[in-house]
Subunit: 343 residues, 2 copies
């Protein structure tokens, strides 16, 4: 293993350049200068999104390999692009490196980032590596593009719209709990999902083309919290059917083994990076889902957007469940959140 002081900042930048050397017609100048130069196409909007992960808050290197941390720190940003129905172009990385890290740790991290970028068409175009003596952080900014008018946002849901969610929920939280507790057993799908989430880039654009999505947000902080954000931004209420929430098999098994309410568990599971979106019911019923190509996106209708006066309600069979608040509020630890909101 190599100490960072042995190769210095220049040496590190050269290693990162070697890891991230790829050509893309949209990138005129990549890593190595004061900024990256991008060719963004006419008729498109540029989308810029940023998410930071902090050691001890968002990741724990005891059970997160640096390569997975690299993948994840880019993937969570690509998920923001997915939520806007945008295609990735490039990203820049602000990496705070603690004194204890070796050159190999940084290389593994960039390797994971580069692997994720390659899979989703996002060039690692630059960034800034700095000393952060005690706590590591990875602050990623992605730039994407979307045809002007084809973007999706969170503040445009309308009463009557159907509420949908892609994939299945609960896996990421299961993965986190399995990894942090060191539990044995077969939880590979959940652990993989937690360590290397898959942003729904192609799915978002496919859904928007097929159904004319009326609003969209990604699930980084739990379905309950994100639906709250979407309704707040759109100034709407909603009604959700608890029985329809899609729960991953491992998550159901884990929650039951731990005697937790499966619904609450899935509803508050963060870092899922599935898409929560709304569609117009008329346009939705006119599109024939069975005619979709084989690669079509699995999703579930879980409720309906309502007038704001109706509030946000969850129905479970005949009875009403209490609304489950934000999945995670960074600055609000204990005291004001519901008991199930434990992340």
């Amino acid at each position: 293993l190599t100490r960072l002081s042995e190769i210095g900042e220049f040496g590190l930048v050269r290693k990162i350049q070697a890891l991230c050397r790829r050509s893309d017609g949209r990138v005129k100048l990549g890593i190595g200068d004061d900024g990256a130069l991008l060719r963004i196409r006419p008729g498109f909007l540029s989308v810029v999104a940023s998410d930071s992960l902090v050691e001890g808050v968002h990741f724990d290197l005891k059970y997160t390999p640096p390569e997975s941390l690299g993948w994840k720190s880019l993937a969570v940003n690509l998920s923001d692009l997915a939520a806007m129905a945008a295609d990735p172009v490039a990203c820049v990385i602000g990496l705070g490196i603690p004194d204890a890290w070796t050159v190999e740790t940084v290389e593994s991290l960039y390797l994971g980032m580069e692997r994720c970028g390659r899979e989703y068409g996002c060039v690692v175009a630059g960034g800034d590596t700095v000393r952060s003596p005690e706590t590591a952080f990875v602050s990623v900014t992605v730039v994407g593009e979307v045809e002007d008018g084809a973007e999706t946002r969170r503040d445009t849901a309308r009463p009557g719209d159907l509420i949908c969610v892609t994939g299945e929920l609960g896996g990421a939280r299961t993965g986190l709990e399995v990894l942090s507790s060191g539990e044995k057993g077969s939880w590979a799908a959940s652990a993989g999902r937690f360590l290397e989430p898959r942003p729904r880039i192609a799915e978002a654009r496919h859904l928007n083309r097929t159904f004319g999505v009326t609003s969209m947000i990604d699930i980084s902080d739990g379905l309950g919290s994100e639906l709250g954000r979407l309704c707040e931004a759109s100034r709407c209420g909603c009604r959700v059917s608890a029985e329809t929430i899609p729960v991953a098999n491992e998550a159901r098994r884990w929650a039951q083994a731990k005697r937790r309410d499966v619904f609450d568990f899935a509803m508050t599971s963060g870092e899922e990076y599935e898409l929560l979106f709304t569609v117009d019911p008329v346009r939705f019923s006119e599109s024939d889902r069975r005619k979709e190509p084989a690669g079509s996106v699995p999703f579930t209708v879980i409720g309906e957007i309502r007038e704001p006066s109706e509030g946000m309600r969850i129905l479970d069979g005949g009875r009403e469940r209490p609304w489950i608040g934000k999945g995670w509020d960074h600055f609000n630890r204990g005291g004001r959140e519901s008991a199930t909101d434990s992340r």
Copy 2:
């Protein structure tokens, strides 16, 4: 003062939105969604640059007001745009907030950022605020634009080009040393320069239009270090005249009072955010500097780009000075840098 847990993340975002509410035709959607939507003009390149400041490494809140930290964290990024001769469009902020900070601290920081953005035409378009329990960090990414072909970069200097630097050097280092030592006396210009540097956005574009700049870089890590980077990237050598280096009055006074070599002091002073650039000597001599409008940019010719075989040399009258290396290598503290390289 208000604890962050009292208003929660949503409350904080709303306060930040209120501070950063400005309209700009190029921003279709700003703070509040998963990403910001920008209209970048056809015929232009998008420039993306990122710089992170870490508490205890790049700033000390003992003598840096949060508002100045906000200004500076954006200004150092705008300086990267200046180095590419680009105009700012928007920025996104990754802010790591320690548990000890209050709501007012965060508001002051955003106020400084917003004030800087307004002055230089850069909209604060989004970002991510996260907990960083022990150490604060501010990771800013700026997006700018420049006419395709009018960008300036660091790897395009050619032997024979004249080496120039804007403004005067040494002030930022004087400011840092005055502030951190608590020294009394009249050092206001230096302290202001260190706390709230002024990125040379308009100057860069003006210089490029007037003289056809052949290469450019901003001085964040000391003139010696940045000239090293420029020569390395351009695969050139250089010759610099020590006597021509422009040194700020306060810096000269401070260095002399502290019995330091004035030239070494100015050459290794980081965080100056002046521009180091090269021009073609023929085109330079044909432009009549006296005909420049009143607002023209003060700069000094300090040397010449040479063939790589000639190496990097500093001449001081008749004798040769040893080359002064990198102003600051984050991971290389002590041991391999020259004694004067103390930042």
